[in-house]
Amino acid sequence: MTDLNAKIKQVIEGEDVALFMKGTPQMVMCGNSLRALEALRRAGAPVTAVDILPDPAIRQELSALSGWPTIPQVFVRGELVGGADIVEELEQTGELERTLEERLGRDYREGRAEKTVAVV
């Protein structure tokens, strides 16, 4: 296992909500990444963002791990929820908040903080 692979796994498995995106929450570089971020924000999710743009290898390793070809990708407690379309649709139906409550506990909105971590 490569160092990068291990770091990506660590984020997916260690963070409550991991968002792999183009850019950062402060400077989003892609419309779909923004759609996913905004849906997560509306649901009050504690987002840990990873910018995949610094190195093309991040995206390659991530897609190999998740079996999901496109960016963004959202994981909750290690499990892939989906990309922008899914997260947006789940947020609109209220299912995203239900999933977050189920996996993170009913008080997941408390102490909500957004952070960015680097894998390279």
Binding site: W68, P69, G82, D85
Partner: protein
């Protein structure tokens, strides 16, 4: 045209589709919205529905023909 080619790939993967559309969102043949309605989606979680579409379009996703893909899936139930 890329839209016709993608539509043919989807028709091949979902021969029982009741609705099938490919929209070139930007007119640049690389940003697409695909809509698929199929009985195969009935009762399937959204993520697995999208996985089936991603799998059907694996080649153009991998070679960069599709730069951005939006997916809308529907069951028929």
């Amino acid at each position: 045209m890329a839209t016709e080619w993608l539509r043919a790939m989807l028709a091949n993967a979902f021969p029982d589709a009741t609705e099938l559309a490919v929209e070139d969102r930007t007119g640049t043949s690389d940003h697409f919205l695909v809509t698929v309605a199929s009985p195969r989606f009935d009762g399937l979680p959204l993520i697995d529905q999208h996985r089936l579409v991603n799998e059907a379009l694996a080649a153009p996703l991998a070679d960069g023909t599709i730069h951005e893909l939006r997916i809308k899936t529907k069951g028929t139930a």
